[in-house]
């Protein structure tokens, strides 16, 4: 990945690399903190409402949650392969991997909408109980991240196609790749908390 290297001579070079740029890391750490606050809210609500949180996941669609986890992990894999292709100076291949990631993002959004519709048909809403209030708050927040993350990947594909990135300089691609992995990290945490652990 494109890197920033701090100039401190006391730290070995390999421990000073920063993939992408500082701005994207400020954004990633801020977003990870935002999700951490949501997870703390989940834990606190859970200890105060153990019965509700034990029963809550049983009424959600494990299939939808699992499918979206597989899709998010696969999209992250596609993004890694896009970065590798760019380093090999294969811009067209890189763009194809990114389009595959965009397809995953779109599929995730479609499945999530079907899941929300299915929940509604089961009578589940933010008003049902605190478990579903937390579920909707966390998952809709993540839904928005996938939405703008997908749009950002499309922007990077446009930049790739207009030859703005080169084998040596493609920091924009790296930054979006890192941001997408952050969205993936948030989802792999949400999945066990809301769908698996009873």
């Amino acid at each position: 990945m494109n890197t920033i290297v701090f100039s401190s001579p006391s730290i070995p070079a390999r421990t000073r690399k920063i993939p992408g740029n500082m701005a994207i890391w400020a954004a990633i750490l801020a977003e990870m903190s935002e999700f951490a606050i949501m997870f703390i809210v989940y834990f606190l609500a859970k200890v105060h409402n153990p019965q509700v949180f034990s029963e809550g996941p049983t009424k959600l669609s494990t299939l939808a949650g699992t499918a979206n986890t597989l899709i998010m992990l696969t999209s992250s894999f596609f993004v890694v392969r896009a970065v590798i292709a760019m380093r090999q100076n294969k811009a067209d291949t890189s763009a194809r991997w990114l389009w595959a990631a965009v397809a995953c993002g779109a599929l995730y959004l479609i499945i999530k909408l079907f899941e929300y519709q299915w929940n509604t048909s089961q009578g589940l809403s933010t008003e049902t109980n605190i478990f579903y209030a937390v579920y909707y708050y966390v998952t809709f927040n993540h839904f928005l991240h996938v939405g703008w993350g997908t749009a950002a990947i499309i922007w990077v594909i446009y930049r790739l196609k207009t030859n703005i990135y080169t084998q040596e300089e493609h920091e924009g691609l790296i930054n979006i790749a890192l941001y997408w992995h952050m969205i993936d990290l948030a989802w792999i945490t949400i999945f066990p908390l809301l769908y698996v652990i009873r």
Binding site: I18, P19, V80, I84
Partner: protein, 96 residues
Amino acid sequence: MHNSHIKLINYLWVFLILLTLFSAYMAERATPGLTSVCIMAIVLAIKGRIIVDYFMELKEAHVILRALMRIYFYVIPALIILVYLFPEEIAKWTVL
């Protein structure tokens, strides 16, 4: 970029998929209890570590950045287990 690196990334993706399918199986079949909660926490820690180290390429990156990202996947799994083991105590400490 060596082919061995691409192979490693491919294998890690397959491993992540298998871990997710295992989690889904646990969600549907396993009896809720300490063992299944611990397994889920460990699975989350492993998945997070793989993405941080290999997909985000922080394994050999700046030590503070790597630590900040790795610690997330120690703390959240630890909280999962603590909340399962001591729900009443934590509830008592967190009343306004």
